[in-house]
Amino acid sequence: MTDRPLVAVVVFPGSNDDHDAAWALGAVGAEPVLVWHQDEELPPGVGAVVLPGGFSYGDYLRTGAIASVSPVMGAVREFAAAGGPVLGICNGFQILCEARLLPGVLLPNRQLEFVCRDATLRVESAAAPFMSRCTVGQELVIPVKHGDGAWYADEGTFVQLAARGQIVLRYAEDVNGALGNVAGVINDAANVMGLMPHPEHAVDPLLGSADGGLLLAALVDAAAAYRVALAPA
């Protein structure tokens, strides 16, 4: 039995950053466990869930739409409703939006080009557990690689999210046509977060940046705290 917090990484058909996410989570102190999308339950003792990047179901219909109704999502929904930390990266963000666990939706990039490069992000809010190792105004360099990354919500929702500090990350420049250059958002309860950039690809200075490690390490902190909160006194 390890004392590292158990973090589930869900594998959908077409996920391709599942192993990178698991590796990176391991590098920042978690015990990652891969969970298949057909599983109707999460492994016992899980402290956080990550929906990784990729192209689940070939992006058929709309990105993330089909994965959002797969069997494992029932368990993820319950986990989130109970206050468990859930992080969606890229395709995982698209899935969480389609599952209505996060506000908005990801549209095709305005330039109709797949964008694959380092992006500079500005931390807009550090209130969420996922952002606890960052400070407001801090700049993070984390790579993006997506064709459908233009976050969109109606004007009323957008204004409300901004006022409540639910927009946690913005691109320092226009990367894909996202409304307000939004790169990452959290839900009302601040325990579900999605972002288009890939923190799991930025956990080692040797690979250009370790800024993604700040987000993943904060997720591991949240996973540990969640397990402690659930533990019998």
Binding site: L61, V69, V105, L107, Y152, G177
Partner: protein
Amino acid sequence: MKATVVVRPKDGILDPQGDAVQHSLRALGFDVASARIGRVVDLEIAADDRADAEAQVRRMCSELLANPLIESFEIRLEDE
């Protein structure tokens, strides 16, 4: 029963695919002010009657086929 669902991007929603097609059509010499790209889903379903079919397809649209934030849909039913 056969049913067809037409899904369209709502007005004002970014549709870069439609924009690219509009530009291409203009390059071909057509006077096209706008092109919007949606999706057609042809279904064959088991239903008691038209009302049942319509209700089922409407639920399919709200649960999966269309995202109400960005898309509108239209249902057409066709008897065998």
